[in-house]
């Protein structure tokens, strides 16, 4: 087993990995940019090193500096976490060249699964369906027209270099096709400097379902069931759950086996996630392999009882997976909510700044992977994830209740966060019914809007706070309120005894 692992990351995932190291008796080595001198992840490390200036390119993306620190600190291995260099084949290669174990798939497998065309070919060969459409971007209207006719409308035009929805056009009839291709090309050109577009079948109301797979260096492959990740804003997951309400035993089994075939065909080792789209008639299509520990890995840990980061480390160290597929069970239901420093009332814009007050919930079935503390100044340079709240319970309804309760006891003040928004998701009828897909956020806008009910109560409270300023003072105390209501904010409304000031 390794003696020392350098963790090439920051925030909650660096802490998560450090904990796994400590529990295995491995010394975790941390790195930090100068913006992270006071960050929480340093508290969990046995050694820490300044890696560079705040911009990611100078610090957490600085391959040479990280390799140098790993050598200087005598680390056996590097865990990249997620994001930053986690799926960068050059980084994996640099580790390999330096005799340091990269905790993840090898650089070859990383390069393969990172290549859209190559990975689709691999997957098709082992009989796993992909979304019908062009395998390679083509030129000329004719080939677009033919393939669109073949897969059937609606179709979608996408930029080859694309991401984030840019250059995408949904086409419902052949009449619109040519215009859409041209518009897509223009947008792709301006966004990515490359006008290449391709076409595929458009899946209406898809669900995003992914399967967690582990594969060791001895050829053993197991999957740890699915995660449903259809609740997304700006194409980024914010709520995930397992089991998915969309799968039955048979479909789950078929998708799990498909995911294992994908991993095996890619000669991939370590933990990997196979992403699928699921359409309304329960056809599933391979999307891509995420070659890292996922942000949402805790929900799999909660239902299977298997520690994924520990498995990553052990697999990288050459240890065989110690259990068989049929020993893996889903117990209960788990949901994760990602807490971001962002403003849902303002287009989800990031909100760095100082955390003036922090109170994190706890209790049965509540897990928090947190990277923050009171008094910390959240730096503006990195991803706005602050922490992850995971609720586990015996069944889905209880897990939702537990999550919703925990969110309402999670207090972060001083910066904007999506805590209130996440709680509103839990209360949305479509979510509680389990009847949702990747357009959930758009389709349920009305249910997700902040209610104005309590604003006057907040103004009232703020006035009193502004007025007194003194701590611990009992301003007034009287026990004679006789009011009746069902929700607290109707009750707050009852503070107001005269609706018309002129009465």
């Amino acid at each position: 087993m390794f003696k020392k692992i350098l963790i090439a990351n920051r925030g909650e995932i660096a802490i998560r990995v450090a904990r796994a190291c400590r529990e295995l008796g491995i010394c975790p080595v941390g790195i930090y940019s100068s913006a992270d001198e006071n960050s929480k992840h340093l508290r969990y490390m046995e050694e820490t090193y300044l890696v560079g200036d705040p911009p990611p390119q100078s610090s957490y993306l600085n391959i040479q500096a990280i390799i140098d620190l790993a050598k200087a600190s005598n680390a056996d291995a590097i865990h990249p976490g997620y994001g930053f260099l986690a799926e960068n084949p050059k980084f994996a290669r640099a580790c390999e060249d330096s005799g340091i174990i990269f905790i993840g798939p090898g650089s070859k497998a990383l390069a393969l699964v990172g290549d859209k065309v190559a990975s689709r070919n691999t997957v098709t060969k082992v009989g796993v369906p992909i979304i019908p459409g062009m395998q390679i971007a083509k030129k000329g209207y004719a080939s677009f027209k033919n393939i669109a006719a073949e897969v059937g409308y609606p179709v979608i035009v996408k930029a080859s270099m694309g991401g984030g929805g840019k250059g995408m056009r949904i086409v419902r009839t052949e009449k619109e096709l040519q215009n859409s291709i041209e518009a897509g090309q223009r947008e792709a050109k301006s966004a990515f400097g490359d006008e290449t577009v391709y076409l595929e079948k458009y899946i209406e109301r898809p669900r995003h379902i992914e399967f967690q797979v582990l594969r060791d260096k001895h050829g053993n492959t197991v999957h740890l069931f699915e995660r449903e990740c259809s609740i997304q804003r700006r194409h980024q997951k914010i709520v995930e759950e397992t089991p998915s309400t969309a799968l039955d035993v048979d479909l789950r089994q078929r998708m799990g086996e498909a995911a294992k075939r994908v991993i095996e065909a890619s000669d991939y080792t370590n933990a990997g996630t196979v992403e699928f789209l699921l359409d309304e008639t329960h056809n599933f299509y391979f999307l891509e392999v995420n070659a890292r520990v996922q942000v949402e890995h805790p929900i799999t840990e909660m239902v299977t009882g298997i520690d994924l980061v520990r498995q990553q480390i052990m697999i990288a160290a050459g240890v065989e997976i110690g259990f068989q597929q049929d020993a893996v069970e889903q117990r209960g239901h788990a949901i994760e909510a990602r807490i971001y420093a962002e403003d849902p009332e303002n287009g989800f814009l990031p909100s760095p700044g100082k955390i003036l007050y922090l109170d994190e919930p706890n209790g049965p079935g509540v897990r928090i992977d947190s990277g923050i503390f009171q008094g910390w100044d959240v730096p503006p340079h990195y991803d706005p994830i602050l922490s992850k709240l995971i609720a586990w319970a015996e069944d889905r309804e209880s897990a939702i209740n537990r999550m919703s309760d925990a969110l309402s006891y999670y207090v972060i003040l001083g910066i904007k966060t999506n805590l209130g928004y996440l709680r509103r998701i839990m209360l949305t009828p479509k979510f509680t019914a389990g009847d949702y897909h990747t357009h959930f956020i758009d389709d349920n806008e009305a249910d997700l809007r902040m209610s104005d009910d309590s604003i006057h109560a907040a103004i009232t409270a703020a006035s009193l706070i502004a007025m007194t300023g003194r701590n611990g003072e009992r301003i007034l105390r009287q026990e004679d309120e006789i009011l009746r209501s069902t929700t607290p904010w109707h009750e707050i409304g009852d503070w107001e005894v005269c609706r018309d000031i002129h009465e």
Partner: protein, 165 residues
């Protein structure tokens, strides 16, 4: 005591009067009688009927942050002059500001540039996200207050535009 607050881009004026056994807070045409209230170090608590309520809060120079049963409010103490104390506040259309703090990564205009509604006048980046600031008006850039590469705060004027008549 009178306080003006900005919350979610709306302005609110509150008038607070302390009576013998109650505090009356008047907001527009609504009046709140607050009858039982304790200030803790970082929370305000009160009781309505048979339930205890507790609102954690924090504050810095200009803002008060409050948590209320799973919702979160940022209230800015405003002078009352800028936004007026009545009705929703109006941000000036000809002042371009970012609603998040971040790095000014692009500033494609200079003093004298002509802009049309929808033209990008600045791009601010924070936490891996780029926010394009577009002109809401037709006009000519009157002043530019930052340079590319500089850090900008939220709601601080980056560019001002002289509107075409």
């Amino acid at each position: 005591m009178k306080y003006n607050f900005l919350c979610l881009n709306k302005a609110y004026a509150a008038d607070v009067q302390k009576g013998e056994d109650e505090i009356i807070v008047t907001i527009g045409d609504r009046r709140f009688k607050v009858r039982e209230l304790t200030m803790h170090e970082n929370a305000i608590s009160f009781r309505i009927k048979n339930k205890n309520y507790r609102m954690p809060f924090a504050r810095d120079k200009k803002k008060i942050y409050i948590s209320l049963e799973g919702e979160y409010y940022t209230l800015e103490l405003s002078s009352g002059a800028r936004y007026g104390s009545e009705g929703p506040g109006q941000r000036k259309d000809n002042v371009i500001a970012s609603s998040m703090p971040g790095l000014l990564v692009k500033l494609p205009v200079k003093i004298g540039s002509k802009v049309k509604p929808g033209d990008t006048v600045a791009i601010v980046e924070a936490m891996k996200m780029q926010n394009e600031l577009r002109s809401p008006v037709d006009g000519i850039v009157k002043s530019v207050n930052f340079k590319e590469g500089e850090q900008v705060d939220a709601f601080v004027s980056i560019v001002e535009i002289d509107e075409s008549p």
